[in-house]
Amino acid sequence: MSATLQTTAEPRPPGEGAPRVVLSARPARQLVALARAMLRSFFRDRTALFFTFFFPLMFLVVFGLIFNSPGLGTTTIGVVGSGDVVTNLPRQLFEPKVYPDLAAGVAAVRRGDVPAVITQDGDRVLLRFAASDQVKAATIQGIVSNLVAQGNVVASGQPPRLTLDAVRVEDQSLQPIQFTTGGILSWGVATSAAFGAALTIVSWRKKQLLRRVRLSPVPVWTVVAARVGVSLVVAFVQAALYVVVALTPPFGLQLPGTWWLIAPLLVCGTLAFLSIGLLVGAIAKTEEAASAMANFIVLPMAFLSGTFFDISGAPAWLRAISQVFPLRHMNDAMLDVLARGQGVSAVWAPCLILLGFALVLTAVATRVFRWDDA
């Protein structure tokens, strides 16, 4: 199908000198024009730039630096007196804070100044802890029990009968940033693709730009292709930005040999989330409604798909439900590539699922799509 139009330089009726303007409308030129206009609008919109590029980076900082410190990091613990166990507390785990007596230490725990206080009274090791932070309480109890048990073994004069040989199965260099980067990347792309499509449709419809474009000789597929192209460009810029930041020393991301597999994932994921945006844009009447709807879909999806937190500990039914989200599949595949260094076999199935999702939702969206309000 060719939309090429040409005029012969036909003279105007007498008295009107100039020939008619020559038109040659080619789909490629229309597509480039629309994509360029969309990109210009996007890159001149500071709010959009913030939420697309810097907001996810903030999450990368939060999850990558603060929560990423190995183990729990050092925990301040209250100490009283100078028994063996107290002086032998491993300094890489505990930072001691000295209290004059146990009563003062317990008061400090009650106030929440320290999670626990420890002292030794002859052969009895006393630990008083706050149960309000269960994770810390359990960790401290575990470590202290271990110290007590070791002390007992030493006191018995026998060599220990059982030893524990614990080695993690992933790459020894593996840091939590390997997980965080993939999650933030999936979420960032999901947000920008879904919001981008939804807001473009709603604002173009509201301003009657959709109608204006419909009244020009532009095939509908060109408009869709321009939006897809723009979202892909944005997704790859996002990926480059996050990965480059994550590679810097404070984060210390290590790229596995198969890292290029995130490219097909980005493409398929963008299409899937565009289809969500397309549906939202088809239904919503105002930008505010579109924004709220997109948030309502993307945010719970992000949490349930394990982009921020590992959901392997979540109830089975919740993990089963999360399988319907495209983000879950994208995220899992990202982790397989970035954290576990897996190859093509880990990526092709999620890609197909994402494409299938995109296809189904786009079909639904075209059914409810409206060019005009009312």
Binding site: A25, L34, R44, L209, R212, S216
Partner: protein, 307 residues
């Protein structure tokens, strides 16, 4: 390959067009023909059915019944042959967000496949050459309207639709826009134009259709419509210019009203009356008000015109 040259026949032919939304007959049997090169106005208050009519003519909405032909072609469903021949300026100024005036025109130009030189020509035409680099959200209301007209004309359409281009503009901006519209017509483009402003239609349009409640109540040149009213002419003089008896004695003065601020003489023979005033050297401060489209509207619909 499509030839965009002139085709014989009218620019627009509308025959018994109808569209109902539930009980409401938005367009209720409208017929008219617009010749090529004509400046055609569609007038009527809000809710008269102008917008629905225009949408069907442009091919955005399917009529319930009736026929539309633009330059001999049917606009519904979306007719790719017709789209390059028509230009549309919409009520809402439909721009690509945050793009400059030049970028808007370039984008629309690319959609139609127009050469780049045309962009500057259009900026010049609507007087925005010095605003070429200004973003759409930083243009004034009048400048935005002129830019949207330029965008509608960038591909030099044979037929162009303007939907209330002067709405919400100050008087000076309105007058500037009139010059642009006249210029467009002078290039041989057919213009279909809706407006709230009756005075504007009277000045600009070759012919006007007056719509109310989904129907066309009258269709003619503004002058013929006004003439057809056989309405009286009102001649106003400053107070004290004439005594009441002098005024009543004037030839052609059918009725005399003496007010605090003016003396109003109503006449069906304005020429006779004004000549008589001139002979008596009483023309200082005289104003003559003939019937306008507003009176035509009042006469046709029995209602005051609410802009």
């Amino acid at each position: 390959m499509t030839t965009r040259g002139r085709v014989p026949g009218p620019a627009i032919e509308v025959v018994d067009l109808r569209k109902a939304y539930g009980e409401l007959r938005a367009v209720d049997g409208v017929s008219f023909t617009v010749a090529q090169g004509e400046f055609f106005g569609i007038l009527g208050p809000n809710g008269a059915g102008k917008t629905t009519l225009l949408e069907m003519v442009e091919g955005l909405r399917e009529p319930d019944s009736g026929q539309v032909r633009l330059l001999g072609r049917e606009p519904w469903p979306r007719n790719h042959e017709l789209l390059p021949l028509m230009g549309v300026q919409l009520q809402a100024t439909a721009f690509f967000e945050k793009l400059s005036a030049r970028e808007q025109l370039q984008t629309f130009g690319d959609l139609y496949g127009v050469g780049r030189a045309r962009v500057d020509e259009m900026l010049e035409l609507v007087g925005l050459a010095d605003k070429a680099g200004t973003r759409e959200d930083r243009l004034s209301g009048g400048q935005r309207q002129r830019l949207s007209i330029a965008c509608a004309l960038v591909h030099d359409p044979l037929l162009v639709f303007f939907d209330e281009p002067t709405a919400a503009l100050d008087p000076q901006a309105r007058r500037n826009l009139w010059d642009v519209l006249r210029e467009v017509q002078a290039r041989g483009t057919t213009i279909v134009y809706t407006t709230h402003y009756l005075d504007e239609a009277e000045i600009l349009c070759d012919r006007v259709a007056i719509m109310d409640a989904g129907r066309v109540h009258a269709l003619d040149t503004p002058a013929a419509l006004v003439r057809g009213l056989h309405a009286d002419t009102r001649v106003a003089l400053p107070p004290g210019a004439l005594s009441e008896s002098e005024a009543r004695a004037l030839p052609g003065a059918d009725r005399v009203q003496l007010g605090d601020t003016e003396i109003v003489l109503t006449t069906r023979q304005p020429a006779v009356l004004v000549t008589a005033l001139a002979e008596r050297d009483r023309l200082d401060g005289v104003s003559v008000r003939t019937a306008t489209l507003e009176d035509v509207f009042l006469h046709l619909t029995g209602r005051e015109y609410r802009a």
